[in-house]
Symmetry: C2
Subunit: 311 residues, 2 copies
């Protein structure tokens, strides 16, 4: 019933990984062990077609002839067959023929495309949990909340590569409005932007001037120093996360759920609250069998997983 999908099934050699995010594009040459052999970063160009000359320049400085192919993770809705970016809100791209631009830059073929969080899940599955997971859920906690799925040992991306929008699971139909059109999505509690807005709102409500430097990081620092509003923010986020985790456990019965992304660094402040909610789940085996972990190596999972789309 179960495919084991070890790293050893990857062909030896280097593949190009591209992680296309809202603020930067990360490029890496990655070997069959998921190790980065070369890494470059550039700012995401506002005009999509400007990616061609930018990539061409980087590729010139890298040995190309031995590359096995290219894998691309896109922060948005991408058609994996045509390589068209249908909609990428953080990049403000719509209907961009990315494959054509990459070909024009001379990236090695074949070229594979997937959602960036799905690619990160694929990277984590191989690099952080090699051989130890078959049914795996990744939650990426950053400005937004995303997710990626590896099920039955294989990447899962759904009918149009849009699966894993775990941040937009509604856990409270009467909760705060979300950019996606629903209310009470997980992201409205745990997404970096929403977290900052909630703390600002509470400070204003209590007559405290919100500091200019509010961010998930400074909210964590202030909470660690005992700031009550900031502690409440993490408790609220953690409880919402707990409900979402309990849902994911009931839906996927996964062996592992991994939290990654910048906001995951604050896990000591929110994860105990999440675990408390998960502990209420009275199902027999699923809540017991799952390993809930915080990623130790989250910085490059996206670009590694993108590269490993080239098997």
């Amino acid at each position: 019933m179960i495919d084991i999908h070890p790293l050893s099934s990857f062909r030896p050699g280097l593949r190009l990984g591209i992680d296309l995010g809202g603020t930067c594009v990360k490029l890496a040459l990655v070997d069959e062990h998921g190790r980065i052999r070369a890494l470059k970063k550039l700012d995401t160009p506002p005009a999509p077609r400007a990616i061609t000359p930018a990539l061409r320049k980087i590729l010139r400085s890298w040995v190309k002839r031995s590359l096995l192919g290219t894998g691309v993770g896109v922060a948005g809705d991408v058609n994996p067959v045509s390589g068209t970016v249908l909609f990428a809100p953080n990049l403000k791209w719509r209907n961009v023929p990315l494959k054509r631009y990459l070909r024009a830059a001379g990236v090695p073929e074949p070229i594979f495309f997937d959602n960036d969080a799905t690619a990160a899940a694929w990277g984590a599955f191989h690099v952080e949990l090699p051989g130890r997971s078959q049914n795996f859920v990744l939650l990426t906690l950053g400005t937004g909340v995303g997710g990626g799925l590896v099920l039955n040992g294989r990447l899962y991306h759904g009918a149009t590569a849009s699966a894993g929008e775990l941040g937009h699971m509604v856990i409270d139909r009467n909760g705060p409005p979300c950019c996606c059109g629903s209310r009470g999505c997980l992201e409205t509690y745990l997404g970096g932007n929403y977290l900052v807005a909630w703390v600002e709102g509470e400070m204003n409500r209590l007559g405290r001037k919100p500091p200019a430097d509010l961010s998930p990081k400074t909210i964590a620092q202030r909470a660690a120093q005992g700031d009550k509003i900031c502690l409440s923010a993490w408790r609220r986020a953690g409880e919402a996360l707990g409900t979402a985790l309990s849902n994911l456990i009931n839906i996927f019965n996964p062996d592992t759920i991994l939290l990654t992304g910048g906001v995951a660094a604050a896990a000591p402040l929110f994860l105990p609250h999440a675990r408390r909610v998960v502990a209420r789940n009275r199902f027999v085996s699923a809540p017991k069998v799952v390993r809930l972990r915080v990623s130790t190596n989250h910085r490059h999972l996206g670009v590694i997983g993108a590269a490993l789309l080239v098997e």
Copy 2:
């Protein structure tokens, strides 16, 4: 990337399917096309080990020598490797060595086990949607609300065969308490028992004596005749279902979601409300690509899918 899993991959011949539910056990001989060739029903015995003589009697009346094996769908938490029923609340079974009892009855080997809703999903995938689905979510609407998943063209049952508990997805953390320990699970709005309890509660609140024959079926009949409380019950259930469907669309990006089970017969009363909620989902491709359907042939999907566990 995609496995096509057509019926033609099943070996020709008959397999025994057993659908073990809270009130009855259904047995069928099923061919490689998913067609039922013989069918028997018996009451679920209160003492688990009484299943051995009951099955032995039925099997004696069926030709055994040509059977390819046995597939069992269990309404509960079953270990698919050991064949032990860990916990089946509707059967009131706990730690029952079902495989041993089935062997003693002489069922054909090998024997495969899975959750009953997962088995029903496998049956629907092959019988209702042959060749037309790769990523498929089944929702079973009955006394409780269950689910089954076929992902990347393959049965998905998770780490311990407990995946697909879709009825226990929390959509309102502050909603009604659920038997599972959470609040506001989909089942608390749409499950037959909860639906009846809500209508009774509303009638009492408004000084109307609840009729003795309240059931999802009579609530549907009364709603069709214009009863306001019964209409509200379906609207409330439909809106909750809409949130759950929107979540499932964001999580799975499925090509098909199928509703089955006795309560699905009332779909004309609740599905329009669900669709209205789903229509609010602003994601680009996932809500557009999904086919949302009501099963036309729900009566035997469980036992057919159980039999097809023998590939």
